[in-house]
């Protein structure tokens, strides 16, 4: 059964067709840097990514995403090779904004037959951040002969104090996420506590459904 991309109504899905405002989690951290990201998305999504950035505007790496539909009870697993590109950066006096885009190709399997299908992905992200306020919007579209779906994620964060390089950064983040393609109905909303210092970052918190949303990232 082919699952068609369905554009759910609502402000979030309309805003997130192409761009995304993700939190500081960027697919490219810095030149000659390696980024390892792992996310547990409230029982619906799990993702692991490893990227190396030879330049500040470009990175390449591998990833795996697993989606568990709570609509049709099917699972979808995609293993991919991805290229990330920084389209535009605005370095303001006390703020920074970025537009990233990426594309990937890989192999997908579903819980139906276990057979492999060619899968591709494209996505984009927009973020704006100061040391006290942060907003990001991210949209990720996956397609294969067996399914297609989109994941839109909006994050808004505030910091109770302005951190510096050598101090722990603390953020309170509200995350709203929508899935298309028979993955999950409605919007997942999570309240997250984000902590990071130098190259290490962790964020976690409950969704309004009482599930756990968590992410870990390491840059080195």
């Amino acid at each position: 059964m082919n699952l068609r991309l369905r554009c759910a109504p609502g402000a979030l899905s309309c805003m997130a067709v192409l761009f995304s405002f993700p939190a500081f989690a960027k697919p490219i951290a810095f030149a000659n840097g390696t980024t390892v990201m792992a996310e547990y998305g409230a029982g619906t999504m799990r993702e692991l990514q490893v990227f190396y950035a030879p330049r500040y505007f470009f990175s390449a790496g591998l990833g795996h995403i697993a989606l568990d539909s709570d609509i049709d009870d099917r699972s979808r697993d995609i293993t991919y090779a991805r290229l990330n590109y920084l389209v535009k950066r605005w370095n303001l006096e006390s703020a920074q904004a970025n537009i990233f885009t990426w594309g990937s190709a890989g192999r997908a399997t579903t819980g139906d037959d276990g057979a492999g299908h060619f899968a591709w992905n494209t996505g984009a992200q927009f973020d704006y951040e100061t040391r006290r306020v942060y907003g990001s919007l991210k949209s990720d579209y996956y397609s294969s002969s067996a399914f297609s779906h989109r994941i839109d994620t909006l994050q808004l964060g505030v910091a109770p104090y302005a951190h510096d390089y050598s101090t722990l950064a603390t953020w309170f983040v509200v995350q709203a996420r929508q899935y298309t393609g028979q993955i999950h109905n409605g919007t997942e909303v999570a309240l997250l506590l984000r902590l990071f210092k130098r190259g290490a970052w962790i964020e976690a918190g409950p969704t309004t459904d009482g599930k756990v949303q968590a992410m870990f990232m390491l840059n080195f």
Binding site: F24, K26, A29, F30, A31, N32, G33, R55, Y56, F57, L86, R89, W90, N91, L92, E93, S94, A95, Q96, E129, T130, R131, A162, H163, D164, Y165, A169, F196, K197, R198, G199, N219
Partner: protein, 109 residues
């Protein structure tokens, strides 16, 4: 008496040499630890770099060069641009990094 003047002059010269290698840069877009991490990593790769200090609060990147060595403005701008940031000003000072840290520490209190 004359010997004392000579000694004082030598000491003054030594002191100046010890402090001559501090370069302070004002950088736009410095808002997170990852920004600072990338800049520090890039600057530390330069063989003339002795130490690096990054302050997000002051949008400041300070580099101390090894004695008798220097990093040109062009090299610094290239390094910061290659890290994805914009250098707005470069100033060479005689301020030791410890004094800059102390100054920044006082401001943040």
């Amino acid at each position: 008496m004359r010997t004392s003047y000579v000694l004082l002059a030598i000491l003054a010269l030594l002191d100046t040499d010890a402090r001559a290698g501090t370069i302070e840069m004002k950088v736009n877009g410095l808002v997170c630890g990852f920004c600072a991490q990338g800049i520090e990593k890039t600057l530390r790769k330069n063989p003339a770099t002795a130490d690096v200090l990054v302050s997000l609060e002051d949008r400041l990147v300070a580099v101390v060069t090894k004695e008798g060595q220097d990093i040109s403005d062009d090299e610094l701008k290239k390094a910061l641009t290659a890290s994805g940031y914009d250098v707005k000003a470069i100033e060479r000072t005689a301020t030791p990094l410890a004094d800059i840290r102390a100054r920044l520490g006082r401001k943040s209190r």
